[in-house]
């Protein structure tokens, strides 16, 4: 194996060995604390432009299967592990992690102390990093890193270019694709929803002309403030139809209603984040993947209500509009990967759509 190394913007160097695709890459280095679900995570478009570190020491035991893709063309920049399993063992496995990364043109780094890397990120925040072949000239690399500006059009990179339909015989749901995970479609289809997926920059009129029962705003990569057109779209759309937002969709709903978002130091990426629903006191263990969050003080109590909070650090995890049937969560009820505690939010979405329809008929 070829020697490869990871150089962080702050000068930390992690030396290891390369696997997967052979190429140099620059991006934001983040960590995921999940013990399983590497296939779903690597193919999750929310990791677009990021170098994904797994804190769990051995990754790839169950190989890569046909079923657990969250996108067809993953855009994660790199995968960093302590050790990867060369010989996976699982009845569903089709290939090992190395073959998969090579096929998807994603470089990997193995043999590094991911615990130390995680500690550095926790202390200094998620930062730019370069994954490259071994060289002694780290100073030049650091200078290069500092001059690089990471792209801000990530959603445009991962969103679908054309609309498509995932048919069922049921309620008409429109999904706005900001970096859609397949499991969201799966959960909606499972509940009989006829899903139409539209690109991220679709206009309000186009959406309303399709006469949907409800609109779902998906997860996605990057800073929600880079999408001002989506804020305007939501501000108008919410007057006409129930909306359910997940992850980036949640942040966009917040921004559209006057709240603010901020970049977290190292974000929430993992599958064991406890979240409390304020109304009932119920705790769900949730799957999360976000580097930005809605700032609690900025939430205008005349427009939005905070419905869920994270137990560990108190971040806003759920919102609900005061006047319209609009609600959102920062975590992933689709749970791919992760615990299924929160899956009933999709049922809630169905119920909100039904309740809204009855109200429309009676009004």
């Amino acid at each position: 194996m070829k020697k490869r190394m990871l150089v962080l913007e702050d000068g930390n160097v992690f030396k290891g060995f390369g696997f997967g695709a052979e190429k140099e890459t620059i991006g934001e280095v983040v960590f995921n604390t999940g013990m399983t679900g590497y296939q779903e995570s690597i193919t999750d478009q929310s990791y677009n432009g990021q170098l994904l570190t797994f804190t769990y020491p051995l990754v790839g035991n169950a190989g890569i299967n046909r079923d657990d893709y969250e996108s067809i063309f993953p855009t994660t920049k790199a995968v960093i592990v302590k050790e990867f399993a060369r010989r996976p063992s699982n009845w569903r496995s089709r290939m090992n992690l190395d073959e998969f990364l090579t096929e998807k043109d994603i470089p990997g780094l193995t043999g590094v102390d991911t615990r130390r890397l995680t500690r550095v990120i926790r202390e200094h925040g998620a930062m730019k990093a370069i994954l490259t072949d071994f060289t002694e000239e780290t100073d030049a690399l650091i200078d290069r890193l500092k001059s690089v500006t990471l792209p801000t059009d990530q959603v445009a990179q991962v969103s679908t270019e054309r609309p498509y339909v995932s048919p069922q015989n049921g309620r008409r749901v429109i999904v706005i694709d900001f970096g859609l995970k397949h499991s969201i479609l799966h959960e909606l289809n499972k509940r009989g929803c006829h899903v139409t997926v539209l690109p991220h920059d679709t206009k309000v009129d186009t959406i309303l002309n399709l006469k949907p029962d409800g609109v779902m705003l998906t997860n996605g990569p990057g800073d929600p403030k880079d999408l001002p057109y989506a804020h305007d779209m939501i501000r108008e759309l919410q007057k006409h139809v129930p909306i359910f937002g997940i992850c980036l969709g949640h942040q966009l709903i917040a921004l559209a209603n006057g709240a603010d978002t901020f970049k977290m130091t190292f974000g929430h990426r993992g599958f064991n984040h406890p979240v409390r629903e304020i109304a009932t006191g119920r705790i769900d263990f949730t799957s999360q993947n976000h580097g930005y969050a809605v700032s609690e003080e900025s939430v205008d109590n005349n427009e939005l209500r905070i419905t869920h909070i994270e137990i560990n650090d108190g971040t806003v995890e759920g919102l609900r509009h005061r006047r319209y049937p609009v609600f959102s969560v920062q975590y992933h009820p689709d749970a791919a990967p992760g615990p299924h505690d929160a899956a009933d939010l999709f049922d809630q979405f169905i119920e909100e759509m039904d309740a809204w329809k009855v109200e429309e008929t009676n009004a």
């Binding site: 009932t280 119920e351 009676n362």
Partner: protein
């Protein structure tokens, strides 16, 4: 026992979600919880009212008053022994100027609600009366409509709807019972 088909139509999680949504809607429609009084009808309505009050306490940090309504005295379709009927809302005499939310498990003919309206108005003139129900099963005989509905369940008169709650039944779901 005659043959019947029992279908579970609402499960425990769905009851929980419906009550949470109704709670949000009550607060928003009423623009806060000022002057709010929750009036639960008989057994299960009282339990539901208490659960909604608990949610309001969590959300708004303030408790709202829950009163119990016994409508049997005001029914127009029962020949009950009048001495058995007690007006149990004795501890809250005055609803004048309040915004009362009547809460019941199932809305059917509307006769219970009419009786509840009488029971409330006998105690004063509320500023406003709302109606929240867990299940609206249709088949109204009176011009009554709920402001907050957990779930609409279109049913026929031959069917019956049974709500089970943990506090009274040790289980929590809603069944439709069809004669077959």
């Amino acid at each position: 026992m005659e043959n019947k088909t029992v279908v579970e139509v609402v499960n425990e999680a769905a009851i929980k979600r419906a009550l949470t949504r109704i709670t949000y809607e009550i607060i928003e429609k009423n623009k806060g919880i000022e002057k709010l009084v929750l009036a639960g009808i008989r057994t299960r309505g009282i339990i539901l009212a208490q659960r909604i009050a608990d949610r309001i306490l969590e959300l708004e940090g303030e408790s709202v008053e829950v009163i119990e309504l016994d409508t049997s005295l005001y029914r127009d379709d029962r020949e009950d022994d009048a001495s058995a009927a007690q007006v149990s809302a004795g501890h809250v005499q005055d609803v004048a100027g309040k915004k009362v939310v009547i809460i019941d498990d199932v809305l059917y003919t509307g006769r219970t609600i009419r009786a509840a309206l009488d029971a409330i108005i006998d105690r004063g003139r509320p500023e406003k009366i709302y109606l929240a129900v867990l299940i609206d099963r249709g088949n109204r005989e009176l011009p009554i409509r709920a402001d907050f509905v957990g779930k609409n369940l279109p049913t026929s008169r031959e069917e019956s709807v049974q709500v089970y709650l943990n506090e009274t039944d040790g289980k929590e779901h809603v069944d439709i019972i069809k004669p077959s």
